[in-house]
Symmetry: C2
Subunit: 325 residues, 2 copies
């Protein structure tokens, strides 16, 4: 168990305060036990559903804070790199608050995410290569145009936004035994983890990453930044290679564990979420279920919450994965 008041870049009072800045459409997302899923997994499973909102992922929470902060400073434009969900969320918030948003994304990002960003009014620049290439390009654009660079997980607003999920999880009764959080850059894991460790330190905070994109998990276990070569996973939303040192420091304060799961388990997780909960989850959103599948004994009879953090998938690929096509 971690210390009761974790020392991270986050602050519980501030997280409570920023709730008021976030559009209510992104707050108080459904949180409910799914009996059928629990029976399949041998434990009690609560789903925290972050897909039933205008951008179909949890990123709306943080994007609202980022955009509010920037427009409050009189900024009119921003640029970010995105695997697709942050870009859609920033575009949605930017459109409502008068901020022009440029998103740099990999050409290999899901077509649905690219189309979503365009449709919401983002200027989209595609790069060959992966998310890390997009990050580099976003840095250049920010310098060239002298506009603000939004950096997922490093910018504290992205963590604070995700942390509001933690407030909602912490108000669930009875408390969960464990919360399973998809781990990518770390905004969600550090944000939610900070709140849980502050309010309910006995709840186990478990981060889950694909074996094919293990940089942050390896860094967590080695307690230092470990970078990796090319990623190989369908979970596009969490496929980074260069952990951010400040985010890793926070993660070390709030996470009890970080585990890696196989692609076949991610696919099985997506299939179960569809069959047993009627939910269309993107691969990153099935990481929690995948973690239970790979270590049933660890969770047997316990009450686990899993954050279904996004539902932006290319349906063709999705149906291929879950076996309906």
């Amino acid at each position: 168990m971690k210390q009761a008041v974790p020392r991270t870049r986050l602050d519980l009072d501030r997280i409570r305060a920023v709730r008021h800045v976030i559009d209510p459409r992104f707050l108080d997302s459904p949180l409910y036990e799914c009996d059928a899923l629990g029976r399949r997994l041998g434990c009690t499973v609560s789903v925290k559903l972050e897909t039933a909102n205008p951008v179909r992922s949890f990123k709306g929470r943080g994007a609202e804070l980022v955009v509010s902060g920037l427009t409050g400073q009189g900024r009119t434009a921003a640029v970010c790199a995105s695997a697709g969900n942050l870009g859609q969320a920033l575009a949605w918030s930017g459109r409502r608050h008068g901020l022009d948003v440029t998103v740099v994304a990999s050409r290999s990002a899901p077509a649905a995410k690219l189309a979503g960003m365009r449709a919401l009014g983002a200027e989209l620049e595609l790069v060959e290569g992966d998310f890390e290439t997009a990050r580099e390009r976003a840095v250049s654009i920010a310098r060239q145009r002298d506009v603000r660079l939004v950096e997922d997980s490093l910018d504290i607003e992205t963590c604070e936004g995700a942390a509001t999920i933690g407030l909602e999880l912490a108000s669930g009764t009875p408390p969960f035994d464990a919360v399973l959080i998809a781990l990518g850059g770390g905004a969600m894991a550090t944000g939610v983890g900070h709140v849980l460790k502050s309010l309910l330190p006995a709840v186990e905070v478990i981060c889950v990453q694909p074996l094919g994109a293990p940089a942050m998990t390896r860094s967590f276990h080695e307690r230092r930044v470990v970078t990796t070569g090319a990623t190989d996973t369908i979970a596009d939303g969490v496929a980074g290679r260069y952990p951010i040192p400040a985010v890793l420091d926070d993660l070390l304060q709030v996470a009890d564990d970080a585990v890696l799961v196989r692609e076949s388990s991610i696919v099985a997780g997506m299939r179960m979420l569809l069959e047993d909960a009627g939910l269309v989850a993107e691969p990153s959103a099935a990481l929690g279920v995948a973690a239970v599948l790979e270590d049933r004994d660890r969770f047997a009879g316990r009450h686990v919450a899993t954050i279904v953090c996004g539902g932006n998938v290319d349906l063709d690929a999705y149906h291929r994965w879950v076996g309906t096509r």
Copy 2:
């Protein structure tokens, strides 16, 4: 436009009061604009999502009131006829509050609904025939066993529970131009309609039923109960043949229109909800989208809300309908 204070069996103050009796898991369901769906349909579309809860339909709201009322009277058992969603909801609430629930259902109800009721602890009795046969059998069982018969749409609690959706819709800003409501027995249409006509009389309340199960819609237009022969629709949740006179009276006070839609439009609606909103909807939950598809001019440029009222489907049939298998 209907009168500002409709005279029905429902009462706005009471509807506000009963919110406190309903488990929060069923309240404040997501309400959000879906850009992609709106673009496809040529209007602004807001989704009120009633599938992200433990029973995957809106029926949990009313069931909580029914069960609370019965256990408050010291009852320990109840029986109902159900197409599958009310039965699951009563079973869920009954299990939590110590009420034994017997459900009579048609053998041809979706296997997922039958399995769901059993898994939640309902005693299930299957009949050959349709929902109306199940209703007759439920009446007999109630008499034989001297237990309370729960009658969907007739029992005011079932309407009041659904009416709490109306309170949440009425708090949406800006107000909608029209709200599309699946019409079966009429609990949801009269409940939501009563609240909307009380609080926002300018909002058009439009009920939608399948052409293959048109009894209530015909009754609405003829202003008298019209029964029909066998139904023929995949929308199992709304396939009744014998409208209840008291419910029809209420519907006449609060609905602006009732329309019938083709099966092909229901299927297209389910497909759009999946493709454009990432939602698995049962056929009854796609009736609103189907209504827009059949009369695009009527809704062009307007802001419509559609209640996605249930997501309990047999996946094999679902994939066949939406074309993924």
